[in-house]
Amino acid sequence: MKESRLATISLYSVFSLLMDDLVVDLARNLDAAFPRLVEHMSPRLYWGLRRMTGDGHQAEDLSQEAFIRTYRALSGYPPQRIRELRLEPWVWTIALNLGRNHLRDRSQRPTLVEETTEPGDLDTEPPDTTAWQRRLDALPGPQREAVVLRHVVGFGIPEIADITGRPEGTCKADIHRGLKKLREIMESEDET
């Protein structure tokens, strides 16, 4: 148990180091470095959003939109400001603040025609997650958001407070209540 926790922490810090490097490159040459931002951040953003929304298409939509907004914001920032960004929480803030009004903006863009047909997202779905997704879906919005950010994506409490714009205490309480609710759901499953 201790070991696996350590492994998680070190993986996360490696990821953070990667992000530190990336902001330097983004500040130097945004267009050249941006595809790397997308590449590094896509799995965490996409799967986190998918766990929050319970819907692959919506997660894809929101991730894409968040990246495009990120790019536009970055292209207006001076290099110094880009270097000071805490990139991943910032992109998450953008993603969670997206309203539905981004659809109008979309008419100005080309839309991808897939030349290779992927058999849905099923191949990328980790095993045994359907039941867990169903349990998560049963949580109230803020609790689900906090639990996903903390335990699926792996953010610390200060980052979650930043991303959601809620006080740390509230985030902690949401996580606590969310986990409690998940345990209750599982217990009730055992009974039936």
């Binding site: 998680t8 495009i68 008419s107 080309p110 025609v113 990328t124 980790p126 867990w132 699926v152 792996g154």
Partner: protein, 252 residues
């Protein structure tokens, strides 16, 4: 297994491939492309959120042409809903109209020249010198010529309507002079008779009864009775004979 560990296992290893591609299209870091029909055959049109960025013949190497010239990847896509439907009409008409065109790949001077070229009406042609004069750089006919060769969006910006200063049809970037000839024929500019006039050093035509001289393809002179039309070797030739330049085609 502990609840927290079960939740951590819900993170997938990778995101759908199309996410990065759709993002590249949305940011303009990649361009989309689609195939269209035109008077010179099948063409590839590339586009991004700023507008149409390239038109090229649908040959096998159009992707490498695009990557070499614009430094961006090209992905199969549908044109933006806001203006994509205009593309076939604009290819046919030979002018941008309301279709946004992305000219970031050329210099501001070249963009200015291309915008001016877009004003040449269908069925008419103008020499390089005319374009140079209209962008306020009367001596820059040569620079205008090389701008036409670099036109990223031929057919939509009708560089095929720009001819050599000696009146000959001249070169064409979209697959050579045969295609230029073909386009001008389709548009009714009669390239054969233009070549014939150029061969005899005739640059302008004038109408004896109105006292006005024009480029040979100007709609004003084409409406004139044949018996009233006289041939002129130069603008000086015209003015010494008492003709004034046409307000439509502005030959001087």
């Amino acid at each position: 297994m502990k609840l927290e560990e079960e939740l951590a296992r819900m993170m997938g290893a990778r995101a759908p491939v199309r996410l990065s591609e759709a993002t590249a299209l949305g940011t303009g870091l990649a361009d989309g492309f689609d195939f269209y029909d035109s008077a010179v055959g099948r063409v590839v049109v590339a586009f991004n959120p700023d507008g149409v960025s390239a038109v090229t013949l649908a040959s096998e190497d159009f992707k490498s042409y695009f990557a070499d010239r614009f430094g961006r990847p090209l992905l199969r896509a549908e044109a933006p809903a806001a203006w994509g439907k205009l593309i076939p009409d604009r290819l046919e008409a030979g002018s941008p109209g309301k279709l946004p065109v992305d000219l970031r790949s050329v210099t501001p001077f070249q963009a200015q020249v291309l915008h001016q070229a877009a004003r040449i009406p269908r069925g008419e042609v103008r020499p390089y010198g005319w374009l140079a004069r209209h962008v306020g750089r009367a001596g820059a006919a040569r620079a205008v010529g090389s701008t036409m060769a670099k036109n990223p969006v031929p057919l939509i910006i009708p560089c095929h309507r720009v001819v050599r200063s000696d009146g000959h049809i001249g070169a064409y970037s979209l697959g050579g002079p045969d295609r230029k000839w073909k386009l001008l024929t389709v548009e009714g500019a009669a390239p054969g008779s233009l070549e014939e006039l150029a061969g005899r050093n005739v640059r302008y035509l004038a109408n004896k009864s109105t006292g006005i001289f024009c480029h040979p393809t100007c709609r004003a002179i084409r409406r004139s009775k044949e018996a009233n039309v006289v041939e002129l070797k130069s603008a000086t030739d015209a003015t010494t004979k008492g003709y004034r330049p046409c307000h439509l085609c502005e030959p001087a």
